[in-house]
């Protein structure tokens, strides 16, 4: 039997030539890497209890690459992951997206799901840019790969109280008592925890008569509203989601109670489905939420692109902050010049974007990975549309209180 040596002169020369060619072309390798799209795993609750909001967040993907191109930024390759509104599924989907080649993660609307994804991102060393999630602990863990361009619950609350005072001063209507109702999930509990503490820092005109927590998957909130009404408060302070906001409004009408004001510190009350489902009954509530600055140039570009893609859907928090998370990813990828996770994380840490959409000086992250310069707005439902009523320098209308009685509309 003839024994093969495995290498002869011809093979050696071929290998040498190949090595030489690769060495000569190596600088182009960098160019090729920059030309490739960054693979972004976008994790959202696109089914389950939060499906409506997850789908809403996802809408902005349609317009993002076009806008990034206009800004001179690289397009992104979006890999979708449905968290099914479930913490365990969120964790598993994050693992799977990373396994399938995701180089950066974005998500995931809900604080509980985002917390699970953040753990995976940190363990696997893949950057996570949070689009929406307000629970403070996420950026208090000393994580190196987790970044949040969304206000924490205390930031939302602080701005909400400041904007409420501005609204009360502008309208001359100051409720003396409120009932605080909140959804009993991670976000709602975090907001409830911060509510009392942050409120003490402001001289609010009202006292909280009762705090009512309710199930996020509740189909009937008649008991909750009856209890709130019985407390005899002048106004409602809400931390809710979409479905429960609709349910609560229906119950307010049925139980013949129009509070002086509905002051929302979360999603639901300003969303398109809320406005469409309830028609004129949707008018009046004021939401104190992370929003967009209508005076910024990129806001106008995003509004135009969004209107073209979705003529019947208003731009909202879900779109704005999902877009900005993707903007951060593209900006960091351009500056890093690489898909290496550590290089991407370093680039995100050095982010300084002033041409953005959200209110405030722009996007930058502190040592904990939190954008602590963000500002919130107060928006009011008026005639089936949304107007910004505070802060004054980012407003396009004056607030109106008290709310018109439901039976007189």
């Amino acid at each position: 039997m003839e024994r093969s040596t495995g290498m002869n002169r011809r093979k050696f020369n071929t290998a040498l030539a190949t090595t030489g060619a690769l060495a000569a072309l190596s600088p182009f390798g960098i160019v090729r890497a920059q030309g490739a799209k960054l693979k972004v795993g976008l994790l959202l609750p696109r089914s389950g209890v939060q499906a409506g909001i997850g789908q809403d967040c996802h809408r902005v993907v349609e317009v993002t690459n076009g806008l990034l191109r206009d800004l001179g930024l690289p397009a992104l390759d979006i890999m979708n992951g449905d968290t099914e509104s479930n913490v365990d599924v969120a964790r598993a989907r994050a693992e799977r997206l990373i396994g399938e080649g995701a180089q950066l993660l974005v998500g995931a609307f809900d604080s509980g799901q985002t917390t699970a994804i953040a753990q995976v991102a940190e363990q696997r060393g893949i950057p996570l840019v949070i689009n929406i999630a307000a629970a403070p602990p996420i950026t208090e863990q000393g994580y190196k790969f987790v970044f949040r361009n969304f206000p924490t619950a205390p930031m939302i609350l602080g701005d909400a109280f400041a904007n409420q005072l501005e609204v009360f001063a502008a309208t001359g209507v100051s409720p003396k008592s409120v009932v605080f109702m909140h959804v009993n999930d991670t976000f709602g509990v975090a907001m409830q925890g911060g509510f009392t503490g942050v409120m003490k820092k402001f001289t609010m005109p009202y006292t909280v008569l009762e705090t009512i927590a309710y199930d996020p998957a509740a189909r009937d909130l008649s008991v909750e509203v009856a209890k709130a009404k019985a407390a005899g408060a002048e106004a409602l302070v809400m931390v809710s989601r979409l479905n429960d906001a609709i349910l609560i409004t229906r119950e307010l009408v049925k139980q013949r109670w129009t509070p002086q004001a509905v002051l929302s510190m979360g999603p639901g009350w300003y969303e398109d489905q809320y406005l469409k489902t309830l028609g004129k009954l949707a008018d009046g509530p004021i939401s104190f939420v992370p929003w967009y600055d209508p005076n910024k140039k990129l806001t106008q570009q995003l509004l135009a692109a969004h209107r073209k893609a979705y003529p019947d859907i208003s731009l909202n928090t879900n779109h704005v902050y999902t877009f900005e998370a993707l903007l951060v990813a593209a900006d960091a990828y351009k500056r890093a010049g690489s898909t290496d996770p550590k290089a991407l994380a370093d680039a995100i840490r050095a982010t300084h974007i002033t041409n953005n959409v959200s209110p405030g000086p722009g996007i930058q992250f502190n040592a904990k990975g939190q954008n602590d310069k963000l500002k919130d707005s107060a928006i009011q439902n008026r005639g089936g549309k949304l107007v910004t009523v505070a802060p004054k320098d980012a407003a396009d209308a004056k607030p109106q209180l008290p709310m018109a009685p439901y039976d007189k509309r």
Binding site: D215, V223, K254, Q255
Partner: protein, 291 residues
């Protein structure tokens, strides 16, 4: 807290409980006769709710009117399901029946997700936002109509089983399977009819609930569980027990929510279930095994 709040909440809980009771009645009828536990019960109710939603959107008919065709459609669905799919499993081990019906439930949920999407959807009738005021009581009009319809349907069902020949034949099958066969009853057909009647109950309950709550494809499992809690509390296989169980669960949830915390109101329903299982395992109106 003023006493009116308790009265209002109790009234609301009782009205909702009547509709729950009708839904659970279907489960109880099916188990009482066919001896199959329908683990797709809540999913069949969500199917009825989506049918109501579709017909309401297309024809603009009130859910109380749609109740009749929806119940008929669910009757046909239930009949065919039992005759074609469940009947071969009647004498098989209970875990086979369980897996079969869980599979049916999963198929229904996923079909609804494909066809209707994941968002909550509701209907708006002319009385969606109406309420009746009687002294200090303010009662939701939709719940009053739904509960009234539930009472009518339940009454018709009791009359059917008590006074019609067909109803008596079905009861004969439930009481003595072999005896029913000996006297020449077509047991397979009667089983399928019973499953159809139970499904019609859940169809009627679904149509009425559509006036009260929104529907999502994932609503089913919670209502399957609720139906079980109700029939076990009232007595599995007992028709009056199902209605009584519905009323008790509705009332317990409502008052528990007011007296303690609303987010834990389901806890009180399960607490009642535990008490019943401890002190009267056959359910409040159930018969003891072998009795």
């Amino acid at each position: 807290m003023p006493v009116e709040i308790y009265l209002n909440v109790a009234a609301s809980g009782l009205l909702t409980g009547l509709v729950y009771g009708l839904m659970a009645l279907g489960l109880s009828v099916i188990f009482g006769v066919v001896r199959v536990v329908n683990f797709a019960h809540g999913e069949m109710m969500s199917l009825a709710m989506y049918l109501t939603l579709t017909l309401f959107s297309a024809l603009k008919l009130d859910p109380l009117v749609l109740l009749v065709p929806i119940a008929a459609a669910l009757f046909v669905f239930g009949y065919l399901l039992q005759r074609g799919l469940i009947n071969p499993f009647i004498n098989r081990p209970e875990h086979s029946q369980f897996m079969l019906l869980v599979a049916v439930a999963l198929i229904l949920v996923n079909l609804e997700l494909i066809v209707f999407g994941p968002d909550a959807q509701g209907i708006r009738t002319t009385y969606s936002f109406d309420s009746f005021q009687v002294g200090p009581l303010i009662v939701d009009a939709s719940k009053v109509y739904a509960a009234g319809a539930a009472l009518v349907v339940a009454g018709a069902l009791f009359a059917f089983f008590r006074y019609t020949l067909l109803g008596k034949a079905i009861r004969a099958c439930a009481d003595n399977y072999d005896g029913a066969r000996v006297v020449g009853l077509d047991v397979k057909h009667l089983y399928a009819l019973t499953f159809g009647i139970g499904s019609a109950c859940v169809g009627a309950a679904g149509a009425m609930l559509m006036a009260v709550i929104d529907v999502t494809p994932t609503i089913g499992p919670a209502y399957t569980l609720l139906a079980f809690v109700i029939v076990i509390t009232g007595g599995l296989g007992s028709m009056p027990g199902a209605l009584l169980g519905g009323l008790l669960i509705g009332l317990t949830e409502a008052l528990g929510g007011v007296l303690f915390t609303p987010s834990a109101k389901s806890m009180f329903a399960f607490g009642l279930l535990v008490l019943v299982l401890l002190f009267r395992p056959q359910g409040i109106l159930g018969r003891k095994a072998g009795a």
